[in-house]
């Protein structure tokens, strides 16, 4: 049996003697740190695989001589990136920080609007069955529209520039969030609502104290999905609405100038920021909420 004990069991066992026990609880030191190390290891392994495939493909492509242009290798890309980041090399007239700042600012404005809109509309649709039936049709239709298809309308309403990009991001992200929030509210077990009704809770109290907390994991997930679609649409929108600054705009210029290394450097930045927002900000938030909801057994 010992051979099958999990790493967690072995760790706890080490602390059973000597650790201070208190009514069946035992203080275990280092458990959390080890978990973190394991997570970090997995992330590094995953990234290594991606870099290896990319590097091998670049070597192969450049070896065949199929094109007069070179496919950027990881080494070239990261060398260029470090020039942008640390040596002040300009990326089409602006520092890379200015580009990132402009993109992130657009993202935050559009995403905040989309999150507020999506959470409110999604909650209403999820709570009122009758409105759900009516409201889901238009929401599903809007959701079908690809982000860039909004381009003519965006330019009609706001002209070229920032507001158009924000509008396009909002149009896509808000619908994604609405659908997922409504789904989360509707998935709350009926017995919890009945128990609250039995005790005499009012409609607003049930909504705020039962449905929203119980659905909060779904709501955070809706925000995660909404954020990732917002981020993807942002880059695409910047490429077409003539914002004049931003990561998407920079990639658009690299295409015109055949500067593929620059394009890859921008893509690397996009990946890192996207990953950071999702893994660091939203995932931490989700974990805290799952813990608060008592969904994470044992810790």
């Amino acid at each position: 049996m010992r051979a099958h004990a999990s790493a967690d069991d072995r760790l706890i066992e080490r602390h059973l003697d000597g650790g201070c026990t208190d009514g069946g609880f035992v203080d275990v030191r280092g458990g959390r740190a080890r978990d973190r190390a394991k997570t970090f290891g997995s992330i590094v392994a995953g990234l290594t695989v991606v870099l290896a495939i990319w590097g091998l493909f670049a070597l192969f492509f450049n070896g065949t001589g199929a094109s007069a242009l070179r496919f950027p290798t990881p080494v070239e890309t990261f060398a260029r990136l470090s020039e942008y980041l640390f040596e002040g090399r300009s990326l089409y007239g602006q520092s890379i920080y200015a580009h990132v700042g402009a993109s992130v600012q657009r993202l935050l404005v559009a995403f905040s609007l989309a999150a507020a809109f999506g959470i409110v509309l999604g909650s209403v649709l999820g709570y009122f069955t009758r409105i759900y039936a009516i409201g889901m049709a238009p929401v599903s239709i809007f959701q079908m529209i690809p982000g860039l298809a909004w381009l003519p309308i965006a330019i009609l309403l706001f002209g070229l520039g920032d507001e158009s990009a924000v509008f396009i991001i909002f149009a896509v992200s808000s619908m994604v969030i609405t659908v997922d929030v409504a789904g989360g509210i509707r998935m709350v077990p009926a017995v919890l609502v009945r128990a609250a009704k039995m005790a005499g809770a009012s409609g607003p109290a049930i909504f705020l104290k039962v449905l929203v907390p119980q659905a909060s994991v779904s709501i955070i997930n809706a925000l995660r999905v909404g954020m990732s679609s917002a981020w993807r649409v942002l880059i695409a929108a910047e490429m077409v609405v003539g914002t004049g600054i931003g990561l998407g705009y920079s990639i658009e210029l690299t295409r015109d100038l055949l500067d593929y290394v620059g394009a890859f450097a921008c893509i690397a930045v996009i990946c890192v920021i996207g990953l950071a927002i999702d893994r660091v900000v939203l995932a931490t938030f989700e974990k805290a909420i799952r813990h608060r909801l008592g969904l994470e057994e044992g810790y």
């Binding site: 609250a196 039995m198 005790a199 608060r292």
Partner: protein, 259 residues
């Protein structure tokens, strides 16, 4: 006038989305429950026991007939008719104590006394020392005890219990049955208790109501004297058990072919 009165209560549900056929699950049920009774509803699964309970609780309205509580038509759920659900129904992000306090909040109990009321209700079910734990650290039996404490705290007049202990192991169930019976003797609340277990009904009830298979209707009732020796070995309990078993319809879920 009885405390709870179902007269000609009938409930039907649509069987298809086109709403051309309906299935009757509860067929013309007359049932009067007096204050202080411990009524066990027993019968095969799908016979309308839970529907009966939901009608009394006010979660559903009868298709035909009426359900009255203290002479007035039941329009919706309320704290005077407390429910212990078959599934666990505690809010997982609140502690045990907060769950009970939430119920007191909802039913409008005086603010100042809520904490004390909740604690004394938890004490009554033997869970005072778990007041600050989250439900996910509690066993199934403990969760159902908290659900009972919730009704004690709200001081519900009627305890509607839908197979509350059916998901628990045999020993826990036996212990909780005994505690519930003790509690009922002490406080004389009106209890409507659903079970599919004849022994449990014989052990607890002051009246046993037997339902037929679908569509559910009442096919037998027994009054159980309070001083009846109820342990499974006693001849009186055995006779009652056998009598009910002989009348109990075969379950709709059995493998036997339709006769």
């Amino acid at each position: 006038m009885a405390l709870i009165e179902l007269s000609h209560a009938t409930k039907a549900y649509w069987t298809d989305r086109s709403k051309r056929r309906a299935r009757i699950v509860l067929d013309d049920v007359d049932l009067a429950i007096e204050e202080g009774e411990f009524v066990c509803l027993i019968g095969p699964s799908g016979c309308g026991k839970t529907v009966t309970l939901n009608l009394i609780a006010g979660f559903e309205q009868p298709t035909r007939g009426s359900v009255r509580y203290r002479g007035r038509e039941v329009a919706g759920p309320g704290p005077e008719r407390g429910v212990v659900f078959q599934e666990y129904s505690l809010l997982p992000w609140l502690t045990v104590l907060e769950n009970v306090v939430f119920a007191l909040d909802s039913c409008g109990a005086p603010r100042a006394a809520r904490r004390d009321t909740a604690l004394s209700a938890l004490r009554a079910v033997g869970l005072a020392e778990f007041a600050d734990q989250r439900p996910n650290l509690l066993s199934g039996g403990m969760k159902q005890r908290v659900a009972i404490a919730r009704l004690l705290a709200m001081d519900s007049d009627v305890f509607l219990m839908d197979e509350p202990f059916s998901a628990l192991d045999e020993q826990t169930r036996a212990a909780l049955d005994a505690s519930l019976f003790h509690l009922w003797r002490e406080r004389r609340k009106t209890v409507v208790f659903i079970t599919h277990n004849i022994s449990e009904a014989v052990l607890l009830a002051s009246r046993i109501v037997l339902y037929s298979g679908t569509p559910g209707s009442i096919i037998g009732q027994w009054r159980v004297p309070e001083d009846l020796p109820r342990d499974a070995g006693s001849p009186e309990a055995r006779r009652l058990h056998a009598e009910i078993r002989d009348l109990m319809p075969a379950s709709a879920c059995s493998f036997a072919e339709d006769a």
